[in-house]
Amino acid sequence: MNSLTRYIIKRILISLLVIVLAGVFAFCVIRFVPGDPIRAMIGSDADEAAVEAARRSLNLDKPILTQMQLWFGNLLKGNLGRSLVLNDSINNIFAARIPTTLSLSIPAFTIAIIFGIFFGTVCATHRGSMIDQILTVYIAGTNGVPIFWLAILMMNFFGTRLGWLPVLGYVKPSEDLGQWFLHAVMPVALISLQPLAAVARQVRTNMLEVIGQDYIRTARAYGVSETRIKYEYALRNALIPVITVVALQVPTIIGGSMLIEVCFSIAGMGRLIMTSVSNTDYLVIQALVLFISVVVVLCNLLLDIVYGLIDPRIRLSSGGK
């Protein structure tokens, strides 16, 4: 078994452990929350019989171990349960909203990576120039400007004042691509803002560090052109650690979606989180915690594997002297 396989298996095992941990925490939500969660979900004026029925349907009357078994058993079958508040299976609830969130977060993620690498490289290769300074200010500023504030300013400016873009709501791309685009411009721009800055920052730091390395000096000493050194060698060396930063942006993008979907009244997973909290829909909340955790862990696993494939030191390391 070579070291890459060992590396991947180790990562998979760790990911599984984290997912199980997430499952346990999700399991605990409804069982440890203060107050009477059942009443909170079906209404505080419900009669005793209804409450008892609900309790039984959620297996809350059974011993804890049995509950755990049933909980994990259901999860393995892909059954996330049923919301008592929205009166629908959670799978359906998610399925209705996931595409919406994806149609915004995936473009945002892509933009953040592509432009982040681009800006970071420009900053590093044109150090000290006007562009570098402008981008540096942008990167610093993005970390400080509250996104919700920016959101309402943009909505006001581009939407209400200039009338260029619609302010609220969402249109599916399958229904009307043009309208979808107009509705998506501001949300995607806002969601991608912080991840873009984070990636750019990391790329710039890495590139600057790499350019000073001895092996770059060797390439230069043997006549390789500056352009080639920057873009073929230094960039490749610098980008490998950037994968880690990219992985860290996944929760950020999810968090950004939460906020933006609420601001723009878009019915996606993000807004579902907020509405579930205000409706105290605990079953949806715990399903969401688990779901989000699994998504992020899987993304991290994927990126870790990519990292292992790209960096020969991991691929071959006990391949030895």
Partner: protein, 338 residues
Amino acid sequence: MPVERTSGEKERLLEVKDLHVSFFTPAGEVHAVNGVSYHVDKEEVVAIVGESGCGKSVTQMSVIQLIQTPPGKIMSGEVLFEGKDLLKLDRNSKEMRGYRGSEISMIFQEPMTSLNPIFTIGKQMTDIIRTHQNVSKKEAVEIAVKALAAGGVSGPPAPVKNYPFELSGGMRQRVLIAFSVACHARLIIADEPTTALDVTTQAQVMEVLLGIVRTYKSSLVVVTHNLGLVSRYADRIYVMYAGRVIESGTTEELLVHPQHPYTKGLLNSVPKLDDDKNSELEPIDGTPPNLLEYPEHCAFAPRCPMVCEQCRTQGQPELRHVAGHYVACHVIGEEVQK
């Protein structure tokens, strides 16, 4: 052993004339190289010796314009390679890059970090080969394999598909030597090629270097502070101090009859096999001068056992022909003139 030579005219390969290089730091201008002149003939092995900070590495890097500008700057001087002044070429021009690695190649001190960790040896070599020669990928690989063999890194199989971290320090250094072979370098500059290696490996690497120099009829400049190395392998030696050459001559002349007090001090501070067991090593008193404030007079004066009033006032001593080699010292020069 120094390379055997037919007597008579030697053709000049490299001639450095009055080179001045400074670094502009927040603390001020550091005068790293202050009027260095030397030459290297064809098929010669020349050693440049001096302590850390004397400017020997900076001089070499300036020859191929590899100094980081900023903060460094080549202030003045000429670098004539076969008659052509390289300093007149633009740093990043195709012409200058054509010299780098191909005519003049430089091997650095740190083999552990001088190779790119994420590319195979083969890729790094073929890239460099194809920068200088118009060959196909396949041909480039063949050249690389032959060069690696010349460098004593043969395999089998040849490590073209290996990554640097899979090789030991000595092997990596030999790979770097193979780079210069692959590019048919006519002048190889080895900057402290053995400092980072253990003694046995040092000998191996030097043998490889010299084998290549002999086979391909190139010249070699070895920059080092290791006098032992120098005595075995060099034809001529230049001794540098505080950015200037203060003594130069053939190896035998210099080592047997050193003139400059600094050279004498250097030789005294190195243990020799025939030393008396109980004798002590004599380090040279004092510390090297601060290159931020370069003195007008002889830079060695504060530490010199032969110093006199004139030394402190007369200005920089020039190299004068004294007893078979060149020395830059007011005191010795005067004695000769008398």
